[in-house]
Amino acid sequence: MKIAFTTKGTTWDAATDPRFGRTEYILVYDTETNELMSYDNRAIANEAHGAGPQTAQKLFEMNPDILITGNGPGGNAAAVLEKSGLKIYIGAGEMTVKDAYEAYKNGNLKEF
């Protein structure tokens, strides 16, 4: 299973980014291989419009099973993610990636 996080850094100790479209990084954890892969999304800061759908498109291509994020995607991004069939969990905005993963496993995050 692949789990994606919106984050402000590239390690387990990094903070999750509460924003979806303008998240600085996307981390993808593969539970089978135990690998943590990162995608640098910081170029999105230069886009005035359409950040949500663009980040959603990136995520769509990465094709994870789960997304763990903070505030949750906006309308346009949600419309894209709906097509990918991934499950979204929100409310991890104040946590480290590690704590967010634990919170998810313990059922403490809300499904979007």
Binding site: H49, P53, Q57, K83
Partner: protein, 287 residues
């Protein structure tokens, strides 16, 4: 003569000035007032009259036919990311689309025909003294510019011969303001004598200079705050057309949806000063 009433800061009195100036000037001239603050048009709150005409306005957006080779040219040419290829389909985000036709025209399989989408409406109202046109964006629409552009066209088609056009513009310094003021002969920037007012006025002044517009300032709630706004105008060589007093009676009339100059002689005097200024502009421009 086309006069745009604009401001950097919101809530400085654009609508108050635009409605009162339109009514005042219409006592001697043919005037049309156009509310171009399409995201929140509120000149209409102060104007009573009969609706003569109402037109829905549309913008053109691409619609995917549901079948193509998924080459991705459409998403590559879209500057605004309004078209995305997702796996085996193409998604269009109408709110992000600027109707440039690039994706539609460049699609090798013509799989993205342009279709109309309603974005707002324009109402023409006749009052006792002048014509009033209100342009209103639909809830959920994100782009004011296309509707403002179509409102300019509506005026050209329907009210071309009015001697004076007054545009009640959106606040700020971004695209909607540019679109609202770009055809104006003169721009009145309404401000208040506070640090906020000065800060946003200076941004609006920069914008108008960039657009090479002739402009002047009206200071509203003149007895408030400090002298920084008048000092700034003097230093920058910007004419101050009028100073509207900070008066509780004015606020009360406003809250009742009434025109102010008919009840407050000092305001009428200030409108006279503006008229005289504009008249000199007009005559100076002709000679």
């Amino acid at each position: 003569m086309k006069i745009a009433v604009a401001s950097g800061k919101g809530g400085t009195g654009k609508t108050t000035l635009a409605t009162n100036l339109a009514a005042f000037l219409s006592e001697r001239r043919r005037v049309v007032l156009i509310d171009l603050d399409v995201e929140e048009p509120n000149s209409g709150l102060f104007i009573k009259g009969q609706i003569l005409k109402k037109e829905d306005k549309y913008k053109m957006i691409p619609e995917w036919s549901g079948e193509c080779s998924l080459c991705g040219i459409c998403q590559d040419v879209c500057e605004f990311h309004a078209v995305l290829r997702l796996g085996t389909q193409i998604m269009v985000f109408p709110e992000l689309c600027h109707s440039c036709y690039a994706c539609s025209e460049l699609c090798p399989e013509s799989a993205l025909p342009m279709v109309p989408k309603k974005m707002g409406s324009i109402k023409q109202i006749q009052t006792d003294g002048f014509a009033f046109v209100e342009s209103r964006l639909d809830i959920g629409e994100e782009q004011a510019v296309p509707l403002i552009a179509q409102t300019h066209k509506y005026i050209e088609a329907n009210l071309k011969d009015e001697e004076i056009r007054i545009y009640d513009s959106p606040p700020g310094t971004s695209c909607p303001v540019i679109e609202a003021t770009k055809t104006a002969d003169f721009v009145i920037l309404v401000t208040e004598p506070t640090p906020f007012g000065l800060h946003d006025l200076s941004l609006a002044v920069e914008t108008m200079r960039e657009l090479k517009k002739d402009f002047g300032v009206v200071i509203n709630r003149f007895d408030l705050g400090n002298d920084d706004v008048p000092d700034y105008c003097e230093k920058e060589g910007i004419p101050v057309l009028a100073r509207i007093p900070n008066d509780r009676h004015i606020a009360e009339l406003y809250s009742q949806g009434k025109l102010i100059y008919k009840h407050v002689p000092q305001v009428e005097t200030q409108l006279q000063a503006i008229e005289q200024f504009l008249e000199e502009k007009l005559n100076g421009g002709r000679s």
